[in-house]
């Protein structure tokens, strides 16, 4: 691919160079500061989401032990937990946080293409969070309709937060989507247009590929949620009937007719399934780079990994109705969506194989980031395999809406991406802060989180096999659920509390290390990728000092035979370190012919 000269036009940098503290840290247009802002807001909402989960787990494990957890609060808590974690925490942290931090640095750019819009994005995101949190303080409280917000119940008596809560939720989502769109356009254009000399697409680290494809998914998927939210607002506030059929509320018919609840579900999941990959693909990318760096080995099968990301991204748009096998849609759809869903297993499995094969014959440094990355492989294998149950339409019949579903998606898009988040935060902490974190604390954090999470979710699958339904405030009296299920629930709750408290170790570590951590030397992990090659650590505004880097090779030249060290930075010229001879492999044959 030809070099695009746009990236060299440095004049624009002057325009948003900060002149005061406020411009530097508040109204900042520096992608790194915006990344930290995005990340901090996301982590703040994540803490609220985590707290809510501990509260409703207390009810499930020890019914009626907490006075204020009544059925109303329970449904509000599970709803807000779900929406916060999926959208406001994971999406914002991966795209707004890591996307912002990594893309310009890994692309050898000074910043995003549109720094002002980038700043606007983070403040709009904050606005959406404020609107969301406001719903805790309005009459009736936040919506308790479940995070899927299925109509018609969202706006009906009998659903917590059916008047103000749901309206605020929908407005907040719409505002969030505006923020994501501004950010997403920025990330995509930056990857396409702002790469430095010599950095072809097939030389990009997988982190950039994962975030890039996830961004494209977000740009296509979120509009479906936006229109659904707006249509539902119309139904709620203006009395339209997009999603509202004729229904009875407390004995009398409502003034709606002819709308389709299933239409909402299609729109929601047309967003909702790609959303899973909006979270997963950046995680795939980040973990690939952590694994490769600490195994001192190139990522195995780079090109297949890239194509797998693209294939998964594409397929993710034609599998959405596997969330709707028992929704009452025409059952013939089941044949199509089961087939497409299980096809996704192939590129996904390939990624897992390649991660493990990256370790094969490596020289694995078992430090904290690597612990989390390997923990991810374990939980992702588990969560991926249980997806084969739910995706296979007929197995979904008994398991849908049971704890099996909860266990599956928490394993695959909760625990797994969060383990990657920790791997990535520890891995890039020296770059972001210029300090090293405390290794022992980080490892303790890993053990408690990893083992605790498995103690939560492995048994939960078995509650699902048994048929215990999700979204029940209490199991109550049944003939088929033995009393031992309650003991299991209690043990799950205890594990959940352990895991939640263990996160304090993380916060203590990163805050303490900011000041007291060992000063990081340059490129402490010996990483080949570009973000570690900045003249300053942490990189200053503009990232690259006077001159933008030039890239001569891919991001994974580890343990190259004949090289001086066990890694060759991407910007090392061929005259210093030869490129790998043909006998081995040149991952991008055409790159050598590129216009460098």
């Amino acid at each position: 691919m030809a070099y695009v000269p746009l990236a060299d036009q440095d004049k624009e940098m002057e325009m948003h160079h900060p002149h005061s503290w406020v411009e530097k840290y508040v109204w900042s247009q520096d992608h790194k500061v915006i990344a930290i802002q995005y990340g901090s807001i996301a982590v703040f909402t994540g803490i609220i989401g985590l707290t809510l989960s501990v509260l409703f787990r207390l009810q499930l494990g020890f019914p009626e032990s907490v006075d204020f957890i009544d059925p109303n609060f329970y449904y509000q808590a599970v709803t807000m937990h779900g929406m916060i974690m999926v959208v406001y925490f994971l999406t914002a942290l991966f795209l707004g946080g890591f996307g912002n931090y990594m893309i310009p640095l890994m692309c050898g750019a000074r910043d995003m293409v549109f720094p002002f819009m980038n700043m606007l994005s983070v403040w709009t995101f904050l606005l959406s969070v404020i609107i969301l949190m406001a719903s805790f303080f309005v009459g009736g409280g936040p919506t308790g309709a479940g995070w899927t917000l299925y109509p018609p119940q969202t706006a009906m008596e009998g659903t917590p937060g059916h008047d103000m809560g749901i309206v605020l939720m929908l407005i907040s989502l719409a505002v969030f989507i505006v923020a994501t769109t501004m950010g997403g356009l920025n990330y995509a254009v930056t990857v396409l247009q702002y790469r430095c000399r010599g950095l072809t697409m097939m030389r990009l680290p997988l982190t950039v590929w994962g975030i890039f494809v996830a961004t494209i998914l977000a740009l296509f998927a979120f509009p479906a949620l936006l229109v659904a939210a707006i249509m539902m607002l119309f139904d709620t506030l203006l009395g339209t009937s997009f999603f509202m059929p004729a229904v009875i509320e407390a004995g009398a018919p409502l003034d709606h007719n002819g709308g389709s609840p299933l239409l909402f579900q299609h729109l929601f999941w047309f967003f909702g399934h790609p959303e899973v990959y909006i979270v997963a693909l950046p995680a795939f990318g980040l973990v690939s780079d952590v694994l490769s760096t600490h195994a001192r080995k190139n990522i195995f099968g780079y090109r297949m990994m890239v194509w797998a990301i693209i294939a998964i991204g594409g397929l993710s748009f034609i599998v959405w109705a596997h969330h709707m096998y028992v929704s009452g849609m025409h059952p013939y759809f089941g044949f199509f969506f089961a087939t497409t869903t299980l096809i996704i297993a192939v590129p996904t499995a390939l990624k897992v194989y390649n991660w493990v094969l990256t370790l094969w014959e490596g020289d694995i440094r078992l430090n904290a980031p690597m612990y989390f990355a390997i923990g991810f492989i374990f939980t992702f294998i588990h969560g991926g395999l249980t997806g084969l149950f739910l995706g296979n339409v007929v197995i979904d019949l008994p398991l849908s809406d049971t704890y099996f579903v909860i266990a599956h998606f928490h394993m695959v898009m909760g625990v797994s991406p969060i383990l990657v988040l920790f791997a990535a935060i520890y891995h890039w902490y020296p770059l972001m802060s210029g300090r090293m974190f405390h290794e022992g604390l980080a490892k303790a954090h890993f053990w408690l989180t990893f083992l605790g999470a498995y103690a939560i979710y492995l048994p939960m699958h078995y509650l699902g096999f048994l048929g215990v339904p999700r979204r029940y405030y209490q199991i109550g009296a049944t003939d088929f659920i033995p009393a031992s299920a309650q003991d299991l629930n209690a043990s799950i709750t205890i594990a959940a509390i352990f895991v939640a408290v263990a996160q304090l170790l993380f916060f203590v570590n990163i805050i303490w290390s900011l000041k007291y951590g060992k000063k990081a030397e340059k490129n402490p992990w010996g990483s080949a990728s570009l973000e570690w090659q900045t003249p300053d650590l942490p990189p200053k505004h503009g990232n690259w000092g006077d001159e933008l880097p030039t890239v001569y090779r891919w991001a994974y030249d580890y343990s190259v035979p004949g090289a001086h060290e066990d890694f060759i930075p991407q910007n090392t010229p061929e005259t210093v370190e030869p490129t790998v001879d043909e006998e081995h492999f040149d991952p991008d044959q055409d790159a050598s012919k590129a216009d460098i």
Binding site: T159, A246, G251, P261, N298, Y302, Y332, I374, A477
Partner: protein, 452 residues
């Protein structure tokens, strides 16, 4: 090193957990062994992959951990290996998917000999409709729903006249007879699930969905709602009784048809008045109630609720162990010979003027409002009037001390746990919103403010 050992132990531990776990699928009660087969196939295939991948992972960590003088091998890719692994994965996926699709085809295509039964969901109860002698269900529309026609059956449709309507959450099915349940909702999404039958499907207002099964085992099984349908979701329970054809025939003969419910003779208020004489001693001439005699106010209460409760006292669903005053009431209820007598009395009580009862309970009204608004109003409504649709009695203006006693009884398991008191069972769960006597009194005090 430790990580390799732990991953190895987690794999072993998972296997042990699986075999030691008492939590597994319930014993199947429908002819869906093919679903269980697909599950087992998937379980063993994925289980094998789980063990193999993670043991290999653990081995790699152990074998290739960083060592002095050791260097990683430079091997960017190996197309043959990648294609080979993808091919094996594809074969495995096909092996699981293909049988799944065949079983799905048999789920989608309902056999010709299946009988159709309607399952109707509404917040938060199950009701059922059988086609009657003509074998066909009449048309129905949500806009035709009234207290007298809770199914919304079209009165003009001749096919619907003989439909058997079961206004009770217990479904009866003959053993070995394939059944197609047509699923309909009057308000929000619900989901009809019987874990032992393996199949489930959502009820969607505005359309009719379906599922089918062939019950193969006698017994009484739980019906669960498995689609979030509001605050009462977790108490939306029912039951299905699978019984021999003869028992089923006897049961269905006792049920009423749609036309019978429409043409029922008006209750005889005069007869009700005569019968009420026995009640008046305690409940008062005008049903105003008498706390000294533990008799609650009846005037203003909805007739369907009075009828149901008298029936419960007659059946022994109320007035059992621990409920002394209920036991007294049961003796009087048994003086009413049959359903007609019960209807007559309820109709007579309905003629009383409704003067709000004197408040006797005090409490924190604000806290009471908070609890009521969040948890009770969904059924009993903001104004405390209750509605037949939610099976919720009137609370406002009724005896507040009786409310306190009854909620305490629900909390103590004295009321609502009898197997035939399905609506009481819901209150057992919902009453947990009030954690102690003080909160119950708070709610009672708030309800007292609703009298006007």
């Amino acid at each position: 090193m430790a990580l390799a050992v732990v991953i190895f132990l987690l794999v072993i531990g998972s296997i042990i957990f699986h075999f030691a776990s008492p939590w597994w699928f319930t014993e199947i009660a429908a002819d869906w062994g093919s679903i269980d087969f697909t599950i087992n196939l998937t379980f063993w295939v994925t289980g094998f992959v789980f063990v193999a991948c993670n043991l290999f992972l653990a081995y790699c960590i152990w074998k290739f951990r960083q060592k002095e003088g050791h260097k990683a091998v430079y091997e960017p890719e190996n197309h043959k290996l990648e294609i080979g692994l993808s091919a094996i994965t594809t074969v495995g996926v096909i092996a699981m998917l293909a049988p799944g699709l065949f079983v799905w085809a048999s789920f989608v295509n309902v056999p010709d000999d299946a009988v159709q039964i309607e399952v109707l969901g509404s917040q938060w109860q199950w009701q059922y409709r059988y086609p009657g002698a003509d074998g066909q269900l009449g048309t129905a529309d949500v806009l035709l729903v009234t207290e007298d026609n809770p199914f919304g059956v079209n009165p003009e449709d001749p096919r619907g006249q003989d439909d058997v309507v079961v206004n009770d959450p217990e479904l009866h099915l003959p053993l070995g007879q394939p059944v197609q349940t047509l699923l309909r909702s009057h308000d929000v999404l619900h989901n009809f699930t019987v874990p032992q039958f393996r199949v489930k499907m959502d009820l969607v207002p505005g359309l009719v969905s379906y599922l089918w099964f062939d019950p193969t085992r006698e017994g009484r099984f739980d019906v669960m709602c498995e689609e979030l349908c509001g605050i009462g979701h977790f108490v939306m329970r029912g039951a299905v009784v699978v019984e021999p054809q003869a028992d089923f025939d006897a049961w269905i003969a006792q049920q009423t048809t749609f036309s019978e419910t429409q043409n029922m003779a008006a209750p005889n208020v005069a007869a009700g008045q005569a019968a009420y004489a026995a009640c008046a001693t305690c409940h008062g001439q005008q049903g105003e109630g008498n706390q000294a005699l533990n008799a609650p106010k009846l005037a203003g209460q909805q007739p369907w609720y009075i009828e149901r409760q008298i029936q419960h006292f007659k059946d022994g669903a109320r007035g059992g162990d621990g409920d002394t005053y209920g036991a007294q009431m049961a003796a009087f209820a048994n003086m009413l010979a049959d359903e007609t007598a019960v209807r007559n009395v309820a109709a007579y009580i309905n003629t009383f003027p409704d003067t709000p009862a004197q408040p006797t309970v005090t409490g924190d009204v604000d806290n009471g409002y908070d609890i009521y608004d969040r948890n009770c109003a969904a059924c009993h409504l903001d104004n405390g009037q209750g509605t037949w649709y939610n099976d919720s009695p009137k609370l406002a203006g009724m005896s507040d001390w009786y409310f306190v006693t009854q909620i305490s009884n629900f909390r103590a398991g004295i009321r609502g746990l009898h197997p035939t008191d399905d609506y009481g069972e819901q209150m057992v769960s919902m009453a947990t919103a009030m954690s102690d006597l003080e909160e119950i009194q708070d709610v009672a005090a708030y309800i007292n403010t609703l009298q006007r």
